[in-house]
């Protein structure tokens, strides 16, 4: 039986109640939402500021000075831009950068998509083959560039050797990099070779997310292989295609190592990309300001390429076969 006399109730311990302590300033601070937001963002903003904004800002600042290596420049306004505007070597680099990016991107995506479609089929040693095709992309660029440098060498090219000494189809070595247009095409070929795996593997990932039921339904409806590709595969991989293409365009447009290792922008500046020209003028040539100007002049092209990829390729119409709204 329970004892409920008033005496026992009074003797029972009173209910526990937390002691409300006076809030310290640090507690108040940690409760303050704006402060927490600032504190949490600070590391990220700091890193971005130090490693991204500052170099970019410095690069843009240098573009408006006549700095050389070893000498602080003075503000010259648009003088560097004016000079480059009348510099045929600069315009040649603009032309070749756009041409190189355009042709190499088309090549990489055509061949990369084809490869991805092939790899998407069931075949023996599938994983092994998928791993192998990544090799051109994994190899450090400068190594593959040196390999191509040998392949394209005017005297010691393996291809020339096969055609001249082994097959006897030619009497002279093939001119890969000693005149302007062959050199341009040779570099594009090297870039495509290097870029295919990235595109293929990325698109393969996209292809594998497409539900097989879509294809089954299409086949029941009597769709041809082309129709299945056009109305199922393409719209379904379009989002990933847009992203991959954006990256690919940026990487190709800002390419440096292949061109610098194989031709150094030659013969007679015909294969300079904006990146190699910026380096040539800025570092070996010592004209930091002018080099920075060339680098800065790449920004509009890159912004345009990014916007094009995001807006033009990622339209819903493409993905869903409907209007844009």
């Amino acid at each position: 039986m329970m004892d409920t006399t008033p005496a026992t109730i009074a003797a029972a311990p009173s209910r526990w109640a937390p002691v409300r302590r006076e809030q310290t300033w640090i507690g108040w601070l940690l409760d303050c939402k704006p402060f927490l937001i600032v504190m949490c963002l600070l590391p990220a903003v700091g890193l971005l500021g130090v490693f991204l904004t500052y170099p970019l800002g410095l690069g843009i600042w240098l573009a408006f000075t006549d700095a050389t290596i070893g000498r602080r420049g003075i503000w010259v306004g648009l003088e560097n831009f004016e000079y480059l505007f009348g510099d045929p070597i600069f315009w040649n680099a603009v032309f070749f950068s756009v041409f190189y990016t355009g042709i190499a991107t088309i090549g990489k995506f055509a061949l990369g998509l084809w490869l991805a479609l092939l790899l998407n089929n069931h075949m023996p040693f599938k994983s092994f083959i998928r791993a192998i095709i990544l090799v051109p992309w994994i190899v450090p660029t400068v190594l593959s560039a040196i390999a191509f440098w040998w392949i394209y060498d005017p005297q010691f090219s393996i291809i020339s050797y096969v055609f001249v000494d082994v097959l006897g189809w030619r009497t002279t070595n093939i001119d890969f990099i000693a005149t302007a247009w062959p050199a341009r095409w040779s570099l594009i070929a090297a870039n495509i070779w290097r870029g295919i795996p990235f595109v293929a593997i990325s698109l393969l990932a996209g292809l594998q997310t497409i539900p097989p039921s879509l294809y089954e339904a299409a086949m029941l409806d009597g769709a041809t292989a082309w129709q299945r590709f056009r109305y199922i595969t393409v719209p379904m991989i379009m989002p990933i295609l847009a992203i991959v293409m954006t990256f690919s365009i940026i990487f190709t447009f800002t390419d440096f190592q292949l061109v610098y290792a194989i031709t150094r922008g030659g013969p007679v500046n015909s294969t300079h990309l904006l990146a190699t020209l910026a380096f040539q003028r800025g570092i070996p040539g010592g004209q930091l300001g002018e080099g920075a100007t060339i680098a800065v002049s790449m920004i509009p092209f890159l912004v345009f390429a990014t916007l094009f990829s995001s807006f033009a390729l990622a339209r819903r119409k493409w993905q869903q076969g409907e209007s844009n709204d």
Binding site: T68, G70, R71, I89, D153, Q287
Partner: protein, 466 residues
């Protein structure tokens, strides 16, 4: 005049006495560090057998450089050509430490980086006390480095005076801003057998004869070839030779751009005739290309430093090519002397150094016969002396074929010739202004007139007043 027998030479004599044999000095066990290095040198290059150098020395008072308390030095220089270069350099510095108690740290950096590192050091006022840079580097940073006239005057008086190229690169407005330590030349390298077959004993010294030689070589399918690609060393050397030997120059004595001249047009017209005789592909050549083609016996006459000869000679598979190889100056053409500006080591002491006296003492020490001659010998001809007395160094007797490099620094041509050395002349060389002018004409992309105008436009940008 007295004669100094260098220590390495003395060792050689001792070795010769002991072994009653020639060549390699077997250093006694008690010998300090450099001796094994000297002994090791011939393994890499048999030509480096040390022997006695009768270096003539005139009496000269060495200025007193009281070494600062607690001094220590850092030095930066380009990487070696050959292993013994670095070994002897380091052991010379170690000897300095031994004698003075001043620790010396030497860092070797890649050739393509030394100019940038010099610029950054000068700009930031921090870094090595001494940089041994290339060519005209001290001229660019004259306000950041110490005047070295005291060392230069002392050494010049003692060792028979400075050679012209040393003056061109070392002196600015009558004062020494840099201390030239050696230069590497680029003569004409050719195959005796090929020239004989073409009906020549050696390359003619005039343009017409040289063209005829190249045409004959082409006819017998043993072509000549010179780099016309973006090759910093070989490309500039050939383009400079072409223009200078026709009396042209990038700038005049006042530093005003003068490349668009009748002399240049003549030179480029000459190139239009010369280029078809070249082996195909020279427009894409980098510095290494002619070495490879020559070694593969696809190229029979070119312009290169001594490295080509030694790489052939030291490989048993190609020793026969070395045997058949000769080196002579590039044709003079209309010039008074062979137009070739040797790549020059040029030392400077920065004002930010806390121990300028110790640095001075070190540089002077390295240039003294006891240290310099062993180093010169270790380099088997890759570097040639800036001081006249060292022309008697035994290195120049070690192999008759390299004797031509003895006079590399007697050249009256420098990069940026005829003008003062400025940022502009250095940048114009680095940006291949002359090379690309020549390449544009050779490839048929531009007429000589258009190419000269384009070179003028580019050069004017580099030489603009700032």
């Amino acid at each position: 005049m007295t004669q100094v027998l260098t220590r390495r030479g003395t060792l050689a004599m001792a070795g010769a006495t002991l072994a009653a044999g020639p060549a390699v000095a077997q250093a006694p066990a008690s010998a300090p560090a450099p001796a094994p290095a000297a002994g090791a040198a011939p393994a890499a290059a048999p030509a480096a057998a040390p022997s006695v150098s009768p270096i003539a020395v005139a009496p000269a008072a060495r200025p007193a450089w009281p070494i600062e308390q607690g001094a220590s030095l850092r030095m930066l220089r380009p990487v070696r050509f050959v292993q013994p270069d670095e070994e002897v350099w380091r052991s010379n510095c170690a000897k300095f430490t031994q004698q003075t108690g001043v620790p010396v740290r030497v860092d070797f950096v890649g050739w393509e980086d030394i100019t940038q590192q010099t610029a950054v050091t000068a700009n930031t006022g921090a870094g090595p006390d001494i940089i041994v840079g290339f060519d005209g580097a001290p001229h660019l940073f004259a306000d950041k480095i110490h005047d070295l006239s005291d060392i230069a005057n002392y050494l010049g008086a003692k060792y028979g005076g400075w050679r012209p190229l040393a003056g061109a690169y070392g002196m600015r407005q009558g004062r020494f801003v840099g201390l030239p330590m050696g230069a590497s030349g680029g003569p004409c390298v050719w195959r005796t057998s090929a020239l004989r077959e073409a009906g020549f004993e050696s390359p003619p010294d005039d343009h017409a004869g040289f063209l005829r030689l190249c045409q004959e070589l082409r006819r017998i399918n043993k072509p000549a070839g010179f780099a016309l690609g973006n090759a910093v060393g070989d490309g500039n050397a050939f383009a400079n030779w072409l223009i200078w030997s026709h009396g042209g120059a990038l700038v005049d004595e006042q530093g005003v751009v003068s490349i668009n001249s009748p002399e240049t047009i003549n030179a480029l017209n000459y190139l239009r005739e010369l280029y078809p005789t070249f082996i195909p592909g020279t427009l894409a050549w980098t510095d290494i290309s002619n070495n490879r083609a020559y070694t593969a016996q696809e190229l029979w006459l070119t312009q290169n430093g001594v490295s080509l000869y030694f790489s052939l000679k030291n490989d048993p598979a190609t020793a026969a090519i070395a045997e058949d190889t000769q080196m002579t100056p590039m044709p003079k053409g209309l010039a008074d002397s062979p137009p070739n500006a040797g790549l020059t080591l040029n030392a400077m002491i920065f004002r930010h150094s806390r121990f300028p006296n110790a640095a001075r003492a070190l540089l002077a020490f390295l240039m003294e016969a006891e240290q310099y001659d062993p180093w010169l010998q270790a380099n088997i001809g890759y570097w040639s002396q800036p001081l006249n007395a060292y022309a008697e160094s035994a290195v120049w007797q070690s192999d008759p074929k390299i004797t031509i490099f003895r006079d590399t620094m007697n050249s009256t041509f420098w990069n940026g010739y005829r003008g003062p050395i400025t940022e502009g002349s250095v940048a114009a060389t680095a940006d291949y202004v002359m090379v690309q002018m020549c390449a544009a004409v050779a490839s048929g992309q531009a007429t000589p007139q258009a190419a000269a105008r384009e070179a003028e436009r580019r050069a004017q940008r580099f030489f603009r007043a700032r």
